[in-house]
């Protein structure tokens, strides 16, 4: 059963057409990768799914429910999480607070309980801390940096914290925009391993944008190729890599 379905998605800004009739279906517990040259529209697709862009046409369905009209925070509450290409951590907070913020939708503390704190808010915060430490911080191996301000972290660690924050949301579907961009070989392998672990141990479905073909080929279950806002082809990583239109999009036409 498809956990996420996108159909007839079309998006334009002013006169500029960004996406045309994009449609695909993501099965539960898969790693689903979008590939394509820069400017193809891949991030725009994620933005539409997350609710940040409002497409002119199209429908998005999550777990069978039509979410096309819902605001981003409502979609997050339904189990959609996202990481960003350019890191979008909250610089005024520590790593720990950023991650705790991921769990926002699952917490029940209201303003009055928060002001009083002792009692319900305290209990919830302690349970949250335990959950975050055991499920996320341990898992992503970021214990040493938990009280550091995110602004002072190295790039690779920041990306990992962003992933941690998304995991704290306990999502059903995780959208990741170029998770290994800017990383060296070792960091890339670590991140790829984490992504696989997430898929296997946590029953999370992952929709991924990535340029690094090694990663794409290694971990994807299914690949969709996008160019100029249109879907070129989709299939298994092998099939897509050998498709002539994909080769043309990435490498250009053979001359002569």
């Amino acid at each position: 059963m498809a956990i996420l379905e996108v159909s007839n998605l079309s998006l334009s800004f002013g006169g500029l057409s960004v996406l045309s009739d994009i449609g695909f279906s993501v099965e539960k517990n898969q790693i689903y990768t979008l590939i394509g040259p820069n400017g193809a529209g891949k991030t725009s697709i994620l933005n539409c799914i997350a609710g940040f862009y409002k497409p002119q046409e199209g429908r998005i369905t999550l777990k069978g429910q039509d979410i096309s009209r819902l605001s981003p925070d409502r979609r997050a509450a339904l189990g959609l999480a996202r990481t960003f290409q350019n890191i979008a951590l909250f610089r005024g907070m520590t790593v720990l607070d950023n991650i705790k913020l991921g769990a926002h939708i699952h917490l029940k503390t209201g303003v009055l309980s928060a002001l009083v704190y002792w009692g319900r808010a305290h209990r919830e915060e302690m349970a949250l801390r335990r959950q975050v430490e055991e499920d996320v911080i341990d898992f992503l191996e970021i214990e040493p940096i938990r009280r550091m301000s995110v602004g002072s972290l190295a790039y690779g660690l920041q990306k990992r914290v962003e992933l941690a924050r998304a995991l704290a949301m306990n999502p059903d579907v995780l959208l990741m925009d170029e998770p290994v961009s800017g990383m060296n070989v070792e960091e890339t392998e670590d991140m790829a391993r984490f992504i696989l672990d997430i898929k296997e141990e946590r029953d999370i479905t992952i929709v991924l944008i990535e340029h690094d073909m090694n990663v794409v080929m290694d971990i994807s279950d299914h690949v969709v190729a996008i160019n100029f806002g249109r879907k070129i082809t989709e299939g298994s990583p092998q099939e897509v890599a050998e498709h002539p239109d994909v080769i043309k999009a990435y490498l250009g036409e053979k001359k002569g």
């Binding site: 996202r82 951590l89 907070m93 704190y117 430490e133």
Partner: protein, 347 residues
């Protein structure tokens, strides 16, 4: 240097005061604050009261502007709402102080919501200017809705009565101010240990990401306005019972700006910074007055320049702080503390 500081439970790690040393010094501070009035002059008590009352309002503003990032130029209008509410409720309905206190907060919170709700569609500087407009409108109402507020003549009230204890002197009032201020500080600190406070900071830092994390921006911005206005209203109530009268000129744009200066010079988004800021902005004008008085022998005209020089110094200090130490006094405090903590090492 702090060594050997290991925590064995999550609760211990999450505590506000995390080492015995810190807890000790906080305890000492509280004892000092409680015993202070017994050996302080009336003048010092007056200053302490003013500082405490300003602190409560500043805490609210720092929640809204410092932590949640919504710049408000209308804070003193909301303090005024609280003050007038108390004055009207006590003179016309005879309600006692302890009832007026939360009601003033609540009325101010409602007004804060009224200002906030339409403003929240706007971003950044448009919101700021909308709050400016709100300040001007309230200013007008305070001055011209004479049937309610008595206009520029203001309203006089009698001293607060707390179950028979009449708060007539600086000494008496100090304890109430201290209690409310401590409560305010505690509640603010509590707020930022929970999802609500974190949501505020997220909205300030990157509201789009916050929304994608599931934070309903509109609702949380309204919370921020409501909470900060509540603090303002409570401060207004304290003010009116302290001065025992209320007139419109204390709730002007200038006062709103003064509160903004307080939290910026003290440190945005920091409770300790708010305390520093409130103390600084209350004592500096007095200091200036003292300096000018002492110059009276050499420059007999010095005192004539008190008001304009206050303005010059006010503006100058704001600019100076923002250029030199934009993170405020609290950052200076941390730097000094770090220096001594690490001494004789550099890092």
């Amino acid at each position: 240097m702090r060594i050997g500081d290991f925590k064995e439970t999550y609760a211990a790690d999450e505590a506000v005061f995390r080492t015995p040393t810190v807890r000790f010094w906080v305890g000492v501070l509280l004892v000092f604050l409680t015993l202070f009035p017994f050996f302080a002059s009336d003048y010092l008590l007056y200053m302490a009261n003013l500082t405490g009352i300003a602190l409560v309002a500043a805490l609210g503003l720092n929640i809204l502007t410092g932590s949640a990032g919504q710049i408000s130029l209308g804070h003193s209008a909301l303090i005024g709402v609280g003050a007038y509410t108390s004055a009207i409720l006590s003179t016309r309905l005879g309600l006692p102080f302890l009832v007026c206190l939360p009601l003033s907060g609540a009325t101010a919170a409602v007004c804060g919501l009224i200002i906030g709700a339409p403003s929240l569609r706007m971003k950044g500087l448009y919101l700021c200017i909308a709050t400016l407009a709100a300040q001007m409108i309230f200013d007008f109402l305070f001055n011209h809705w004479t049937s309610l507020t008595n206009g520029i003549n203001g309203i006089n009230i009698s001293a607060a009565n707390l179950f028979g204890w009449e708060l007539k002197t600086e000494f008496d009032f100090y304890f109430i101010t201290l209690a409310v201020a401590v409560l305010g500080v505690t509640m603010t600190r509590n707020l930022f240990r929970t999802k609500v406070g974190r949501a505020f900071i997220a909205i300030r830092d990157r509201d789009i990401s916050a929304e994608l994390m599931g934070i309903n921006l509109f609702r949380y911005k309204l919370y921020a306005f409501a909470v900060s206005s509540f603090y303002a209203g409570v401060s207004g109530c304290l003010w009116v019972y302290f001065i025992k009268s209320v007139t419109p000129e204390y709730f002007s744009l200038h006062e709103s700006i003064r509160y903004l200066a307080m939290i910026i010079i003290g440190g945005l988004g920091s409770v300790l910074g708010t305390i520093f800021g409130a103390m600084f902005m209350t004592f500096v004008p007095e200091l200036l007055q003292a300096v000018l008085s002492s110059l009276k022998e050499t420059y007999p005209m010095a005192m004539n320049y008190l008001f304009p020089l206050q303005t010059v110094v006010f503006g100058f200090l704001i600019v100076l702080f923002l250029v030199l130490e934009p993170h405020g006094l609290v950052r200076l405090w941390h730097r000094v503390k770090d220096y001594f903590r690490l001494w004789p090492f550099e890092h």
